[in-house]
């Protein structure tokens, strides 16, 4: 049915605007992307090293930190290092130890392990995700303000840290909510109890025990007596102080205490730990803590802590004071807990599904297109590696829905190639040379590919901005997939296609005489 008029399409002006199509930079770009992806994605290490790191990673956080400091001391040039260098090495080692438990082994023998380390979501590695909501408590707190949320976050953060679970996350979301992530946790119940209970804020004084050593003694003043603290700038500007207020009962206790302790120190403790933190974010060891100086008796039930505080320090102290008690009640409004067994099962199944799916698509392309199909398959492999490497670098947390998005994007990545190849076939039918047909195929298919991908990106953007965490994971992986596919399916396929020998029948076209015959039928 094909008419001659349709077949003789006037050649478009943009056919040669892409003159640099096969110039060297594209080949180089494709090779560079390939090399980058492989090196980013895959890591090799000795079995023994990995085992050691794994054991370290399994230690409770506090022990792990001790162990790492010990190891740093044992390093041959430990003596030469300054504090800053040590801290850097500490951070690196800590990260390494904590991430080794989440690696995915690809291949191993007795000595070597080939592995990658993609960040897996809680639904894959097991763990709990909680959504907490701060509830207003009138009349004191009629509304949840950002300051209140800040102090709620600090309290929850402290409580979660005290669990000793690694890689926890406490994040603000919306006006009055917190997302808490507890990966790989054995007992989510304990975590939830800890979040729900009130932490103990205590004011202590220095005393001397029988052995002549100083220690912090209870004063009976606790967070229960405490009302509110706030950071305020002093008139001079630049220097900040912290004002605070007790409940009437607490105010009286505090007045007595400060009268007694003028010129001495009061220690502020949270769950038995000093509120001051050392460089690594853990509470300062008790023996290094000096407390706060009392300048004069504070009788009004409110007072201030002065010192040459910067704004940050003052705000931090106020937060810590407020942290003793949650300023408002909180409620767990959403919980998603996945046990490690189910997570492991999901990983294995997704992996198999992914491999089978991609292999079938590749097979399909070879069956339908032959050699060009094979070229598209190479582009698809590049696509898979690059996308995963980007996931690893960003890092994108891979959830089950995210994996589904990625596997779906594989199907869509091939679409660009199919569009191009079908177009090329048509160009060949209309009597163009192979070279011109390939070029026209790419140029003409481009507008369709571009339009349709923009559409997918629109959907992803909406999903990302409005969706829940689960949905966001899907949107991100799909969007990255779409963007990468624009590069691999167009640039990489084109480069590769110009590298393969061009012979008559590359796209299964028959000799020109048959084509003309067919088109007039």
């Amino acid at each position: 049915m094909q008419s001659k008029t349709l077949a003789k399409r006037p050649s478009q002006k943009n056919s040669f605007s892409w003159k640099f199509f096969s110039s060297d930079w594209k080949t180089i770009a494709v090779s560079l992307v390939f090399i980058w992806s492989v090196f980013t994605l895959f890591q090799v290490d000795k079995q023994s090293n990995l085992k050691d790191w794994k054991q370290l990673g399994n230690l409770p956080v506090i022990k792990l930190k001790e162990e790492i400091w010990q190891r740093i001391e044992k390093l041959p040039d430990a003596a030469k290092m300054d504090r800053y260098e040590r801290d850097e090495i500490f951070k690196q080692m800590l990260e390494r130890a904590q991430s080794t438990n989440t690696i995915q082994i690809i291949w191993q023998n007795k000595r070597w392990v080939l592995y990658t380390n993609l960040k897996l979501g809680l639904d894959l590695r097991g763990g709990s995700q909680l959504l907490l909501q701060a509830l207003p408590a009138p009349p004191l707190v009629p509304e949840i303000t950002p300051e209140i949320m800040q102090s709620v976050q600090t309290v929850i953060d402290n409580r979660i840290n005290s669990l000793g679970v690694s890689e926890t996350l406490v994040q603000r979301t919306g006006k009055d909510r917190l997302i808490v992530e507890l990966p790989g946790i054995k007992d989510p119940q304990q975590a939830k109890d800890r979040i729900g209970t009130t932490a103990l804020l205590e004011f202590k004084e220095l005393a001397i025990n029988a052995d002549g050593k100083t220690y912090w003694k209870d004063t009976g003043l606790t967070g229960a007596d405490f009302k509110h603290a706030q950071a305020v700038p002093t008139v001079a500007g630049g220097i900040w102080r912290v004002t605070f207020e007790f409940k009437p009962e607490g105010g009286k206790k505090f007045a007595d205490l400060t009268t007694r302790l003028v010129g001495r120190q009061i220690g502020i403790f949270l769950d038995g730990q000093p509120t001051d933190r050392s460089a690594d974010g853990m509470p300062l060891p008790v023996e290094k803590y000096h407390g706060v100086n009392v300048k004069e008796p504070i009788l009004a039930g409110s007072g201030e802590i002065t010192g040459s505080f910067t704004k940050d320090q003052a705000v931090d102290l106020a937060l810590k004071l407020n942290a003793g008690a949650l300023p408002v009640p909180i409620k767990i409004i959403e919980e998603r807990t996945v046990g490690a067994t189910l997570g492991q099962d999901s990983i294995e199944k997704s992996l198999i599904a992914g491999i089978v799916g991609i292999s079938l698509v590749m097979l399909f392309m070879i069956i339908v297109y032959g050699l060009p199909g094979l070229v598209a398959d190479c582009a698809l492999i590049l696509y898979t590696l690059t996308t995963l490497a980007i996931f690893k670098t960003m890092p994108v947390t891979l959830t089950l829905a995210g994996i589904a998005g990625f596997i779906l994007s594989v199907g869509m990545a091939v679409d660009a190639n199919i569009l191009i190849f079908e177009r090329t076939k048509e160009e060949l039918k209309s009597g163009k040379s192979l070279y011109m047909a390939i070029e026209n195929g790419f140029n003409r298919a481009f507008s369709s590919i571009f339009d349709s991908n923009i559409n997918s990106l629109i959907a992803c953007a909406v999903l990302y901005s409005l969706g829940t965490v689960l949905v966001k994971g899907f949107a991100v992986t799909l969007a990255i997939g779409v963007l990468v596919s624009m590069f691999t399916a167009i640039t990489a396929t084109r480069t590769l296609l110009h590298l393969v020998p061009k012979y008559e029948g590359l796209f299964g076209q028959r000799s020109k005489t048959t084509v003309t015959k067919e088109s007039t039928v």
Partner: protein
């Protein structure tokens, strides 16, 4: 390979008929769901609030004692089911939202006493307060996507193309919702926030497919009115818009089918081999993408032809730009 040819325009009522055959039962399903669940689809805990506990007991258990335990702990009317997850028997309990932690502990302790030790596979808990909010944000994201896509298609194409593409898009969303409404009535399939992602993806894909076909029609409209030798009668006649649409659909047919096949291959392998958690999500995308392919080949182009014919053939040359 001899290309397959479809006479699109001639059989247009057949194509519309097939669509209706799928849509009508779906719409009936949606209506029944509205009466039964007060929602067009059976809503999952994401939207209503509630808890789903998946426990794997060490010993084989009966469902009745578990129901009893739940009911004694203050959760009467809970659904308890058995399921297979990687070859293991798993008990799935659906209750109304367990709002307080002490209630949850009470249930766990009771279960341990009556049915022996168990392993927690997953716990999902959504409080009744957040459910409607998730639903609202889901519906909002759907509406926003619809709006942006309509603007985009209208900007890229002429208005009539845009309207046809959007009708095709609604067709796919409706077909998907209809089938899931039926599944909800028959096998109790519930929809969650992932289902909304599935609809959005399907919409994206459907528009993507339709754009490829329309892009070709637009490119070929310049031949409307050109002369053509009719193979049967041997006479020359002028090409109508319908001929062009027919030709364009056939030119893109191989591509449409191949693309959908590759996507369907990956989705099918996910459906059959992938994790249990996302099975419904993948099923939704399978249905939607199959429908999207169908509607972009048949419905969208037929509608466009229909529209143009209504407006009269004389004006068509105007669009040949």
């Amino acid at each position: 390979m001899k290309p397959i040819k479809i006479d699109l325009v001639k059989y247009r009522w057949l194509w519309f008929g097939i669509s209706l055959a799928i849509l009508i039962p779906g719409i009936v399903g949606i209506i029944i769901c509205c009466l039964k669940y007060h929602a067009p689809l059976k809503p999952g805990i994401d939207f209503t609030g509630g808890s789903i506990l998946q426990y794997q007991f060490e010993k084989p258990v009966d469902l009745e004692p578990i129901r009893q335990v739940l009911s004694d702990s203050g959760f009467p009317g809970s659904q308890v089911q058995m399921a297979q997850i990687s070859g293991e028997q798993v008990v799935i309990m659906r209750t109304k939202a367990i709002e307080s932690e002490s209630d949850k502990q009470k249930i766990d302790n009771h279960l341990r006493e009556t049915c022996g030790p168990f392993k927690m596979l997953s716990v999902d808990k959504v409080s009744a307060t957040i459910g409607p909010e998730l639903l609202m944000s889901g519906i909002l994201s759907l509406l926003v996507t619809f709006a942006i896509m309509i603007c985009y298609i209208a900007y890229r194409f002429k208005l009539d193309y845009a309207i046809c593409a959007i009708i095709a898009l609604f067709h796919d969303a409706l077909a998907l919702c209809g089938i899931f409404a039926l599944l909800g009535l028959i096998s109790g399939t519930e929809v969650d926030s992932l289902f909304i992602s599935a609809i959005l993806t399907v919409i994206g894909f459907s528009v993507h497919d339709t754009i490829v076909v329309f892009d070709r029609i637009r490119e070929n409209t310049k031949y409307v009115g050109s002369k053509k030798l009719d193979a049967n009668s041997g006479k020359e006649r002028r090409l109508s818009f319908a001929d062009i649409a027919n030709e364009s659909v056939n030119q893109t047919l191989a591509r449409s089918i191949y693309t959908s096949l590759t996507v369907l291959i990956t989705l099918t392998s996910l459906f059959l081999l992938g994790g249990v958690t996302t099975r419904d999500f993948v099923l939704a995308m399978l249905i939607g993408i199959a429908s999207g392919t169908y509607s972009s080949i048949f419905n969208a182009s037929c509608l466009l032809v229909f529209w143009r014919e209504l407006k009269g053939t004389q004006r068509q040359t105007k669009f040949a730009t």
